[in-house]
Symmetry: C2
Subunit: 431 residues, 2 copies
């Protein structure tokens, strides 16, 4: 299979009109995708994208177009090499390395390559990954900069250790699904009545964890948290998410004030670049919850690459790794991040929502359960109930769990109608 | 002064044809600038740019064009607010935050705004900055994410403490200049004879520090280092630069092998994102030099933003801060980085070379000496003797020192001829 074309699309949804997705740092996002269709000479196609929140989606598209010549005319036989081709080009690498717009663009192309490969093989991506043997998985990873924390041999041992039970765990996923939590109740732009109603609906729907946005105003956060706790009761986990709003000292003070309501984790307390800052917050909150329980620290949706995740783990800065399907260089770099998390024994709870992130990350978590960590303990995939109608194979949630995808590929394809209607700036939704 | 236009240009020099600038990670750079001309309603113009090494310069230009609407129609009265306007827009921020292509683009626009402001005032940027009072300097900084390491009040105290002697230090710069070191001898693509000849020329020209590129082949590096040491003698400092080629363990082993030749610093031993990795390398090399002297650790040209510099300092990971004029969001963010370095007592030795980086960073180091650190100890500005002929106010080097610029502005303006000839892909140099 030789790549013959890489077509890009600037797709934007006017979500800011309803304050869906509003938080302390992102008051008016227009959820968007820089979308890629990869085609090969034997007639296959793969779809992929990166996620943005509006302005700048065109810059990601320009970056995709700039990277395209690196893969056109090349084969897809080795997806590890395919990913490294996009991140190792020395001239493009100068623009990162491995971060920002160029890395988002690489994610879109890499994800499309995985969609194409799994589709051509006739299986969903999580099944495709879970069928690879340990050496094949190790060979996918770009090991540069990782070996002080995890060597290829150590990763091989880890993967071999989880070979037993792959079949049973895959069967469990097809029978029961993978646990989810919902953020749909807690957007900052929603009023108290809507918050209370949505929190009750979440519990009724079977969720055992929900998430609230915090960080704009402490009095509001206390009121909203108290209200939500009173609705859901003491046994439902409530995570909170500050979306990078605070400095280290602010994060500790604010979370200490929210501690009586028993937050399960604090997500993005400060800059996603601040490994040492997260470590300081985590130490300060280690016994800050009711009864001396920890308030966990979570981050990842803006963590630029595997080198930053490595350090968050080395520094014991996080209790929860929130990988993102489109922030790092796609499926391939996420295999590295899953291996690092497993090496350090830290659960992965992916970031989702946005446009199509739920569709993508379910494959990564299911692969993690089947073939890497082998565990569901304290692992949940974020779920947000927006924009799934635009996808050909949308996620299916039942009783607070993601049901295992059965369609071939990465669940990444949008309907042609949606691609046309939400094309920016000329689609009907924007005219 | 209201901004009326932001014009962008894709300027590339075909430097790869001569292997100028070749190193272990960048074998064939075409030194390039995504160049900006900012104009105001009262007829002033400012020039600025970010530096890239070829492919992707067009993506930076697209990012500049995307950011331009944030500043068109706004004034330049508050350059701190001007910088934050470019980095705080929530939708664009998603693409970083504060890293990669969007941050390079912000650098170009911010640098142009400083060139314009200093030009309109009739002074060079280093003089303009050095004339601001401590509170004005503090107000320039985006303090978000810094306060666990340095508060505005602490910065104010630090700046007040260096008020005495500003005049004398500025006079010293105008009389003697600021110390330089040269990288022109040591590009990896040069053969031994050229290396030896250029090293001798550097010593003859008055340089007391030179730099060699390393990291592709250990035997070659030992031979080249031994040759260079034999040419320059024991008293000239020889720094080496691996351009991120190594993992942590490789860096320690390789530098231990080079230690007998007395390396002054090892620059970019590993990923610029790897704060903890740099700290590990620094610890391992603390007594590795001849006589138990340290091999210093230096990095910065690819350090994405002030949050990463903060951590390199907090973790005691670097002996030398190599700020870059165009990697972070221009002059304004570099004021923050100079303050952080001063707070931790670490010397700043800027990255230069490329296209016009020497022209820009001299202003930052001279401001540091006059108004921030007040010191020249172990401080040197990199110098590379390429591409200065394209600038209207090129740097002037004399006896191994940068002479203080006297022309108004940021020394950032290229000749109109150069902008036309090297425009990519339609200029004469590329046709």
């Amino acid at each position: 299979m030789i790549v013959t074309s890489v077509d890009s699309f600037d797709i934007r949804f006017p979500t800011s009109r309803e304050l869906d997705g509003s938080d302390a740092m992102n008051p008016d996002p227009d959820y968007s995708a820089a979308y890629v269709v990869l085609r090969t000479d034997d007639g296959h196609e793969g779809h992929g994208f990166t996620f943005t929140i509006g302005r700048g989606n065109d810059v990601c598209r320009a970056a995709i177009d700039a990277l395209a010549p690196l893969v056109i005319g090349r084969d897809l036989d080795d997806l590890g090499e395919f990913g490294r081709r996009l991140t190792h080009d020395s001239q493009f690498r100068w623009l990162g390395p491995e971060k920002g717009v160029m890395h988002l663009a690489a994610a879109a192309i890499v994800n499309a390559a995985w969609d194409l490969t799994a589709t051509a093989t006739g299986v969903p991506v999580w099944r495709y990954l879970s069928a690879l043997d340990p050496q094949q998985l190790v060979d996918l990873v770009d090991w540069r900069y990782l070996t002080d924390a995890l060597t290829p041999d150590e990763a091989l041992d880890l993967l071999k250790a989880s070979l037993p039970g792959r079949t049973e765990r895959a069967a469990h996923l097809e029978r029961v699904g993978y646990p989810a939590y919902t953020t749909s109740a807690g957007w900052l732009g929603y009023d108290d009545a809507k918050l209370a109603r949505l929190a009750q609906e979440a519990v009724d729907a079977g969720y055992t964890q929900i998430k609230l946005k915090v960080g704009a105003d402490l009095a509001d956060d206390i009121r909203r948290f108290a209200l939500t706790r009173s609705v859901v009761g003491p046994d439902v986990r409530i995570a909170v998410d500050a979306n990078q709003r605070w400095d280290v000292g602010d994060a500790i003070a604010w979370m200490t004030a929210l501690a009586p309501y028993d937050p399960w984790w604090i997500e993005e307390p400060t800059s996603p670049d601040d490994v040492l800052g997260h470590a300081a917050v985590r130490r300060a909150l280690a016994t800050a919850g009711p009864g001396g329980r920890p308030i966990r620290v979570a981050t990842g949706e803006h963590v630029a690459n595997r080198v930053m995740f490595k350090q968050l783990l080395q520094a014991e800065a996080v209790d929860v790794v929130q990988l993102d399907a489109c922030r790092v260089a796609g499926v391939t770099e996420n295999v590295a991040i899953l291996l690092l998390a497993a090496r350090f024994g830290v659960p992965v709870c992916p970031h989702a929502g946005g446009v199509g992130l739920c569709e993508l990350v379910q494959h990564l978590s299911m692969f993690d359960y089947v073939a890497v960590s082998g565990s569901l303990d304290d692992r949940v995939i974020e779920y947000v109930d927006h924009l799934h109608e635009h996808f050909v194979d949308p996620v299916v949630i039942s009783r607070g769990a993601y049901l295992a995808p059965r369609a071939p590929g990465f669940s990444a394809r949008m309907h042609a109608d949606s691609l046309a209607r939400y094309a920016f700036p000329d689609g009907a939704a924007w005219r």
